[in-house]
């Protein structure tokens, strides 16, 4: 019997506000433990929450970008449970009237367009951080109260790879909106998954397992794949799947049951009496709508259409807004109609430089105009590709202009045939054996001769012209 997985994802993103959701404490990351706290976020008796208007605006913005219905009337609720990272032992969250609901995100997964429906987008406060020691746990409340957006997909993702792609697109959308750093390492983006298996073609849902503790999109994909294998085996053996929460362990590459939370939760949600409701007008929605930029999938399509990029190439630069903006700038400035040369530079040498430096292409700080200048040198055959790559590296390291580096290093190619013929004479004379080989049909010998010319010219000879000249000469003789 074949089983198919049904996957739902719950993504939490920290909103990039200056202050916390309900108090004026800073949200800055990495500060001394408990230094960014006040009576409100510490849940001290008598303190009261007041909502950050930017956090609400950001939540609406994400809702709109995910094609949701933004609720005309939204409110907060208390989610009650005891945990030491939750100072009030309730979390201010949203229950039945979230900021936005019923949306979707279009993605491309394994070359197929897919629409993943979004159930809801709601605003809540983050909890603190626990550090587990041998005999006790330590609590740091700096993170407590940072505005958190929960984005819940419908359970309709059909494979680990599709889940991965959903996350890539979702993260990109949120980043494009400028509302979050989406940095998984800093915990500003987190993802939990739920998965159930059912017989292929069946309608109902199987028993749902929740997966936590995945620290990267890759980990989400692996944990889901692991679960599918594990659950399939159980089902084939005729065993039942337990409804439970399982933790992904990166090291062992396996999930394991999280025992302490087995008891059924009863969160006793009720309307937060300390926060009057929020009424969102069409005017507000329209205003926020206007601030939404072109989103990654539209940009991807446009890059493919307008700049002739392949889907593969376009994806490399589009998911980061900064990189996409930079690339677009370069593509626009590049004066030729055929954008292929500059595009190749962006996804070739630039991406490879960025990868070795662990950053994005925009972070290399090469002004778009300068990159275009460099590519133009190559286009005019004034410098070799090889030299150009070295020039690029130096531009990144020193911030100097392409023309200055080329001039200082005397990298302009020798293209006039008179001077080249002289070098050619010498090379053919010194390597008569290779010349003979070529004439007898060993075509590989030609490249050797070209190399020798390059060497003699200290790399400045134009290899294309040399090749032409050599071919002609060796054919004549």
């Amino acid at each position: 019997m074949e089983y198919e997985p049904i996957i739902g994802l719950e993504v939490h993103v920290h909103l990039k506000t200056k202050t916390k959701a309900f108090c004026g404490c800073s949200t800055e990351f990495g500060k001394e433990p408990n230094s960014q706290t006040c009576p409100v976020c510490l849940g001290f008796p008598g303190s009261l929450p007041v909502l950050n208007q930017v956090a609400l605006g950001y939540a609406i913005k994400v809702g709109l970008a995910l094609n949701c219905r933004v609720q005309e009337y939204t409110k907060f609720d208390r989610k009650n449970y005891f945990y030491p990272d939750l100072p009030k032992n309730y979390q201010i969250s949203q229950y039945d009237l979230p900021v936005a609901k019923d949306g979707f995100l279009d993605i491309d997964a394994q070359d197929k367009a897919r629409r993943i429906n979004i159930r809801r987008v709601h605003l809540e406060e983050d909890a603190g951080k626990l550090i587990h020691k041998q005999d006790c746990s330590l609590v740091d409340f700096n993170r407590t109260g940072i505005p958190l957006l929960e984005i819940v997909s419908e359970p309709e993702i059909s494979s680990p790879q599709e889940a991965y792609e959903y996350l890539v697109f979702l993260k990109s959308v949120v980043e494009y909106l400028g509302v979050s750093d989406c940095d998984m390492e800093k915990g500003s983006l987190r993802c939990d998954a739920n998965i159930s298996l059912r017989e292929e073609g069946a309608c109902g849902l199987g028993v749902k397992t929740e997966l936590k503790n995945m620290n990267s999109f890759r980990a989400v994909r692996e944990a889901l794949a692991f679960e599918i294998t594990r659950q399939t085996e159980l089902l084939i053996q005729g065993k039942t799947i337990a409804q439970e929460t399982r933790l992904w362990d990166e090291k062992s590459g396996a999930t394991s049951s999280m025992r302490s939370k087995e008891e059924a939760q009863d969160y006793r949600y009720f309307p937060e009496p300390d926060l009057p409701p929020f009424i969102i007008t069409q005017g507000q929605i329209d205003g926020i709508k206007k601030s939404i930029p072109e989103l990654p999938r539209e940009k991807l399509r446009r890059f493919i259409r307008d700049y002739g990029l392949s889907e593969y190439d376009a994806r490399i630069i589009v998911f980061s807004k900064k990189d996409a903006d930079y690339a677009e700038n370069c593509l626009e400035i590049f004066p030729e109609k055929n954008k292929k040369p500059i595009a190749n530079w962006l996804i070739g040498p630039l991406v490879s430089e960025a990868n070795t430096r662990h950053c994005g292409i925009a972070d290399l700080n090469v002004p778009a105009g300068e990159l275009v200048e460099l590519v133009k040198f190559v286009q005019r055959d004034e410098i070799s590709n090889l030299s150009a790559k070295l020039v690029l590296a130096e531009m990144i390291d020193t911030g100097k202009k392409a023309a200055d580096i080329i001039k200082a290093k005397n990298l302009i190619q020798i293209s006039d045939t008179a001077s080249l013929e002289k070098i050619l004479d010498e090379v053919v004379r010194e390597n008569s054996k290779s010349a003979l080989d070529y004439k007898q049909g060993k075509t590989g010998a030609l490249m050797f001769l070209v190399g020798q010319v390059m060497k003699k010219s200290q790399g400045k000879a134009n290899p294309k012209i040399i090749q032409e000249l050599l071919k002609r000469r060796l054919a004549d003789a």
């Binding site: 008598g46 009650n80 032992n89």
Partner: protein, 482 residues
Amino acid sequence: MEINKLTAYELIKKQNAGEVTSQEIIDSLKKRTEDVDSKVKAYVRFSDKSFSNLQLTTYNLQLPLRSIPVSIKDNICTEGLNTECCSKILQGFKPPYDATVIRKLKEAGASIFGLKTNMDEFAFGSSTENSCFGPTRNPWNLECVAGGSSGGSAAAVAADEAILALGSDTGGSIRQPASFCGVVGLKPTYGRVSRYGLIAFASSLDQIGPFAKDVRDCALLTQVISGYDPNDSASVEAEVPDYTKALTNEIKGVKIGVPQEYFIQGMDAEVKDIIEEAINKLKGLGASAGQISLAHTEYAVPVYYIIATAEASSNLARFDGVQYGYRYRAGSQSLIDMYNKTRGDAFGDEAKRRIILGTFVLSHGYYDAYYLRALKVRTLIKQDFDAVFKDFDCIVTPTSPTPAFKIKEKIADPLKMYLSDIYTISANLAGIPAISLPCGFTKKGLPVGLQILARPFHEEMLFKVAYAYEQNTPWHKMKPEL
């Protein structure tokens, strides 16, 4: 001259005339407290420190409460000073901040007197018997309760151990003790006074309010603590009128509604007579009175005990021994053990009862039947008042169905205790302002309180009617013998 027996208004006049100094006021209160508080037990801690900005007030005669000591209920946060809600679980808690009302008092030149006034644990109660420090006694009869939950504040003012005091009122916790102790107490409109720094019992019902010896002082203190506070999302951005302008001793044409549902079984016969006499007095002063109906009155107590305990169960979840207050320490323990034992050990009986009731009405499978239903009936109760206020300026009722009862009389029967709030609870559910002022004494010499209710943000109407009544009756001048 017994300085401690004067009102704030009189003390301010005497300070201006140079007849009394701020130090003399404090000394006189301290002496009185030393003399009588062992009997009354209005205060739970005492300190020699006077926390006023006296230096400032000496030079600024413009401040409305210059050098006036104000006593504070133990659930209002004072920076660096114990604020324990008379609960073991908040043992030693020193808030890192001042409540907004405390800041306003300081800015008005007032000082904080005593540390602080007794109350039912977390304001859970109607008699101040549920205090971890033991009950406060009624200055008019030491065998009787002072009422609650703000019994300490009411008794302190009644016994002249305080000039003014602050309490909190969630279902009658200011008005009922004011009535039992023969002083004036006001629950402002929900949203009129900031709750920031009031340790929450039921967030949608709580209001801080004043206790005073007479209506003028009550208006004076209300004036100072009222107003918008950006730290309380439920605080309303409405101008605070000059309440002293309402003190005209003129109520001709004021339309008073008398709810028929309030004069029913369970009401003490003497109280009934006294209230009817008071209504006649008001008519005699030119007001008109007509019978009205608040049809859902009988549901107010059950609605209240669902909403208030539900909110309380959540508000009190934070007391868990992690960041402040008491932590149970015996033996090696797991986290859940620490929670269960800390809370099981340190909460009193009534607190446990209410937390568990509140947890129950919110729990899975019961929410709709209890909590949601209660919120709907709350709507009906509010609508009753809206309808009445279309035709009437205010509503007059008894504050409590009985005068002060004996200590221990009701403590074993929680339901009986809950029913003693029957006349006061509706104002909290509807969010409207209500005042209690003395309107007579029983044959045994216990005070009876008259409650007046008005439209939201119409505290002036309360002051206007209460002042006229007070100026034409002797009750507010009566003092208990101690």
